[in-house]
């Protein structure tokens, strides 16, 4: 049986998780203090994901930037590809928090505004 230790990144508690992988490929997670920890541990070993937060230039507001985030976590392996796409994009003001800036980015998640711009 394989034992893997990791730190949960879901919240600032940072629980120490222990994942045991049984012969059939199933996972047993311990050390988590909430259900999200278990999901994180399994994801981390099968398909790690991260929420991307960055900024987008506002095309019609010289020198102003909009905070943006992926509406849900995206594949960790696609973070740099996503950054290249975001940095080639310009938002148009006015923008409200939650407005979609890039729809279904890389087939993973919408990129949405995390700040307002008038």
């Amino acid at each position: 049986m394989e034992k893997i230790e990791m730190i949960c990144i879901n919240c600032p508690l940072g629980c120490m998780l222990t994942v045991e992988r049984d012969a059939e490929g199933g996972f047993k997670v311990s050390g988590n203090t909430c259900p999200r920890g278990e999901k994180y541990a399994v994801n981390e070993l099968t398909h790690p994901v991260r929420t991307l937060t960055t900024t987008v230039a506002i095309g019609n507001r010289e020198g102003k930037y909009l905070a943006v985030k992926t509406a849900k976590p995206i594949s960790k392996a696609k973070l740099f590809e996503a950054m290249a796409l975001v940095n080639a994009t310009k938002a148009q003001a006015p923008v409200k928090i939650g407005d979609v800036i890039i729809e279904n980015m890389l087939g993973e998640a919408d990129l949405v505004a995390a700040s307002d711009a008038e």
Binding site: M6, I7, C8, I9, N10, C11, P12, G14, M16, R50, T51, L52, T53, T54, T55, A57, G63, Y65, A67, K69, K76, L79, F80, M83, N87, I97, A114, S115, D116
Partner: protein
């Protein structure tokens, strides 16, 4: 002269939460004074997520968290002025005279029955770190770099070394990497990181950025611009070990070496400060030793979560409102409980508890001085154990708290409450 029941110094998360809590407690005549051009404070540049899990039950970015509070301030019609600095606080005939300045009106005074200090903190700059070497461009605090990247859209450099593993340093390691810079190493002079574990995982490990503990920057090289730094191991007395040093070529050095509550205004007003927190000495209501003046948020002690800043500021806001409702007078005291820092406890906030009989349960926040594993957290009153709890792990980077029941306080209103780590 302008007259307000409560004047709040600072429109960041602490100031906004205090304002809303005071308003909701029935004190509506409030003014927030903010020196930046909008409400929100440092959250405006903290575009990463992880804020609000406790307060809102969901994970928000800094600007989203700030926007929620700015909306609450707007919904309540609470007054605020921006681009305005508070210069001084003085005891007036009734309450406190707050002297402020802005470019529109110059210097003017505001009368306040109560004042809430919510100025936040600032980063320890290079000048306070005594790093040998030249003085080239390219040395920034992590927060300054964060403002350049996130607000101004400008990269401060391409080849980066970070000194200090506080959360801002870790967050900036990831941010600079995502924007195309090469972060060579994060050095931490202490044998442990001051940042959250989750940030070490998602900001360093995710991008294979090494974290070197017990390591510092021993020298900065460069003429007009940083050309490199010498990093070196330190011994247990934090002295550089010259035999264990290496040169790293870089054009940028980011400093994330601790935050200092910004209390020039507080000390100039003659308010007593706690030498460990760098913030005012307060009771459970977050009232300072100057009557009618309260403090909350990072100006009081540096928090690791904004959620706790909001919670603490709501206490200060509500208490300031109660003070106003009581005719701008303190409630009658049954006694004052002194809080003693036992083994392992570096500081507590509050530092004392004023017992009035009307107290509710009091949350005492504290930090430990080093990493502890498998210990007991013991609380006692006048030498008698009140509670003991098993702790799997305690670290200086994570603020802890204990709840003290009303019955414990009422039974010993002049007692000494001791918080200690039993190894």
């Amino acid at each position: 002269m302008m007259n307000y029941d409560i004047v709040i110094v600072g429109g960041g998360p602490a100031g906004m939460a205090a304002a809303c809590a005071a308003y909701d407690n029935g004190t509506e005549n409030i003014l927030i004074v903010e020196r930046d051009n909008a409400l929100g404070g440092i959250l405006r540049q903290c575009i990463h997520n992880g804020f609000g899990l406790h307060r809102f039950g969901e994970e928000l970015t800094g600007p989203e968290y700030a926007a929620r509070y700015a909306k609450m301030v707007a919904e309540r019609g609470i007054d605020y002025i921006v681009d305005t600095m508070v210069l001084s606080l003085e005891k007036g005939e009734e309450g406190t005279v707050v002297t402020v300045m802005n470019s529109e009106r110059g210097v003017f005074c505001i009368n306040a029955k109560a004042v809430i200090l919510a100025m936040g903190c600032r980063e320890r700059p290079r000048g306070a770190l005594s790093i040998p070497g030249t003085r080239p461009a390219g040395v920034y605090t992590a927060g300054t770099a964060q403002r350049y990247v996130n607000i101004k859209g400008k990269m401060p450099g391409k080849n980066v070394v970070i000194l200090g593993s506080g959360d801002i340093g870790l967050i900036m390691a990831r941010r600079m990497t995502l924007e195309g810079a090469k972060v060579h190493v994060v050095c931490e002079i202490m044998p442990y990181s001051g940042g959250l574990n989750r940030n070490i995982v998602q900001c360093l490990n995710d991008f294979d950025i090494p974290l070197k503990l017990s390591t510092t920057v021993a020298k900065i090289h460069g003429g007009e611009r940083v050309t490199g730094v010498t990093i070196a191991k330190v011994d247990s007395n934090m002295r550089v070990i010259p035999e264990e040093s290496e040169y790293i070529e870089c054009d940028t050095l980011l400093l994330s070496c601790g935050l200092l509550p910004e209390n020039e205004l507080t000390s100039a007003a003659g308010i007593a400060l706690d030498p460990i927190t760098g913030g005012a000495v307060v009771n459970e209501n977050r009232e300072t030793e100057m009557e009618g003046v309260f403090a909350c948020g990072n100006v009081l002690h540096v928090h690791d979560l904004v959620d706790y800043v909001s919670e603490e500021s709501a206490v200060a806001g509500k208490s300031a409102s109660e003070y106003i409702k009581n005719g701008a007078k303190k409630a009658a005291l049954m006694g004052t409980v002194k809080i003693e820092k036992g083994n392992g406890v570096r500081y507590t906030v509050p530092q004392k508890i004023d017992v009035t009989g009307a107290n509710e349960e009091v949350k005492v926040y504290f930090r430990v001085g080093k990493i502890y594993e498998g210990v007991n957290l013991k609380v006692s009153m006048n030498g008698e154990q009140v509670s003991s709890a098993k702790k799997r792990k305690m670290a200086p980077g994570e603020m802890e708290f204990v709840k003290i029941k009303k019955s414990v306080l009422d039974a010993a209103p002049n007692g000494t409450l001791k918080i200690e780590i039993v190894e």
